[in-house]
Amino acid sequence: MNNTSPQNSKYHLVVLFCLVVLVSACGNSNSTCSDASPKTARGPYLQNISSTSIVIKWRSEQQTISRVRYGSSPNALVAVQEDQSIDVDHEVGLGNLVPDTRYYYAVNDTAETVFSFRTPPVEGTARPSRVWIVGDSGTADKNAKNVRDAFVDFNGSNATDLLLMLGDNAYDSGADCEYQRAFFDMYPATIAATPVMPTIGNHDAREDGGAPYFNIFNLPIDGNTGGVPSGTEAYYSFNYANIHFVSLDSETSNRSPSGAMYSWLMADLAANTQDWTVVYFHHPPYSKGTHDSDQPGTAMADMREYYTPVFEMYGVDLVFSGHSHNYERSFPILGHRGTSATFLESMKTDTGNGRKDGDGEYTKPYNSVNQGIVYTVAGSSGKTRSAPLNHPVHYLSMSKLGSVVLDFDGDQLNVTFVSPDPAAIDYYSIVKTI
């Protein structure tokens, strides 16, 4: 293939863009962010967690076998799981783990460093669980770092059980080298201790249709971690404690009601018996941020017109998206399919702010359908830009860097926007009632 083919021209662009972005963003980098560069060590990072199993992945600088030593005490990593094949990219699955237990582990390249993770309880069992959500975080720059540090300060010494990524996880094309900077180098401590469950954004799909994304992440496709098998890593679901999570693909998969994702979602949500249901995907159904969901024929419009009825029909509690580089958080709403001009006040199922110290928490019965859903656009974990921010479904809209933290505790969910800017505040709660 000569160097004018689209693939090569794209590669050329990615390499050059990486160079410019990384040198300007990182300042101290002499990396060329090229697939021709020597691979940089990365990880370990956690994938595909269930109450009895987990996948640990990492990349070593030299080709080696894959070995994980682990145990329930940091001083006694007595169990060993290994794969004798020689490679720089490593993937080891651990099974027969005990639910709701902290495990300590070391991988062969970092034998002196002991990491830890906690298995979830048996599916359906309520346990206080913290979920961190970042959206459009892939800038690999000071903004992303500030958002990360704000979360670290907020989190303190608490455990974080899951990290959800809302897409555009590595700008500009989702190339492997971009993931190195924007993901592996940005969140090393978090991803060694907290399983990461992403969704694919438009930028992640630019590099070879998302091939690096699908190589980096091992996502549940067979229903082994709860949910109905999707058969593809592009969209999937899983259970964690008493929460059902659904990651949809609003970028690369057929979004139409006749597509595979739609029929799978209907079945998956119909079979879901967990107390809480959280759905996330990249393109927001309701946004007047840096992207306008009123534009017809877009992924945003498709997700609103085709998918929000399904969310309502099956009792979804929260929907998160990115794409717009702003923070927009809705009232609990129901039945809005059209453009923003067609939104009616009567579509709000609660007109308050959802705060215990304000208008009161939002409430909804357990296992109920056709109740209000709170939609959040949280695509400001790497950059923000001014925008109209006047979509009427939203209680609050702002161009502020930040991320979102979900704290589940039995029948209560507390949601907090965590920003490096102390003036950028949002929080609310949902309480499930019998």
Binding site: L13, G209, R255, A267
Partner: protein, 239 residues
């Protein structure tokens, strides 16, 4: 089922339709600006010209994209430029020209799956079902990653063929489930095809396979009751 098929054929086209000019995308703007900067130093670089052409197409700036494509053709060769030219033709709704361009590109790079998929969908739009089916089958033979949608879209096309279309469609769906595992999305479509050919017992048998995941849902139970009713009411027609 027919309505679903029509809807599918229409919606399959969405990814290949041009974005409207109003779809301003800030990041695309930045990239266009960036590639323009690169071209100021090397205005004839065909790779960068094609990069910018693709970005312009995404922005809905078809005329600007064409200008870059023609410039790339002058400094490269027409075959290497053909894929992006095909995207331009699609954006202009010149579908036969798009098919020709994708074909030209695939002549040199036969494993380039975006070109195969785009050509398959364009054939389907033009009603050239057999050619579209051939491309989907080819896509499945060369693609490293199989999406359930590939099998579903192939089956929906095959089902329209006479006289054995539904049989072919079922075989494709079963092949998908052999490769990807038992999937609700594919099995649900297979159940509809079984019903269409009045193979009620087969429909019921396929429905039963979904019991481990869906057996407790009211929807699954209601469908089972309906299928049992049909099975006892009608004898299956021979395949």
């Amino acid at each position: 089922m027919k309505a679903i098929k029509i809807l599918t054929l229409t919606l399959l086209l969405l990814p290949v339709l041009p974005a409207g000019p109003a779809l301003a995308h800030a990041s695309l703007d930045e990239l266009i600006e960036y590639t323009t900067g690169l071209l100021s130093g090397k205005p004839d670089n065909p790779g960068t010209l094609l990069d910018r052409a693709r970005l312009q197409l995404k922005q809905g700036n078809n005329a600007l994209a064409l200008s870059d494509i023609e410039a790339a053709e002058r400094s490269s060769d027409a075959v290497d430029v053909a894929y992006v030219r095909g995207l331009y033709f699609l954006a202009e709704k010149q579908r036969q020209q798009a098919i020709d361009a994708f074909g030209k590109y695939l002549g040199r790079y036969p494993g380039y799956t975006p070109a195969i998929l785009n050509r398959a969908k364009t054939y389907a739009t033009l009603g050239k079902t057999e050619l579209s089916i051939r491309d989907y089958q080819y896509l499945l033979s060369v693609s490293k990653v199989h999406s359930p949608d590939y099998y579903l879209e192939l089956a929906q096309l095959e089902s329209t063929l006479e006289p054995c279309g539904i049989h072919m469609a079922l075989k494709s769906l079963d092949r998908g489930m052999e490769n990807l595992g038992l999937l609700v999305s594919l099995q649900a479509a297979a159940i509809e095809f079984e019903l269409e050919r009045k193979a009620y017992r087969m429909a019921l048998a396929r429905h039963e396979t979904l019991k481990p995941w869906l057996g407790n849902t009211p929807q699954w139970k209601a469908r089972q009751k309906e299928l049992i009713g049909r099975t006892s009411q009608f004898a299956d027609e021979p395949d």
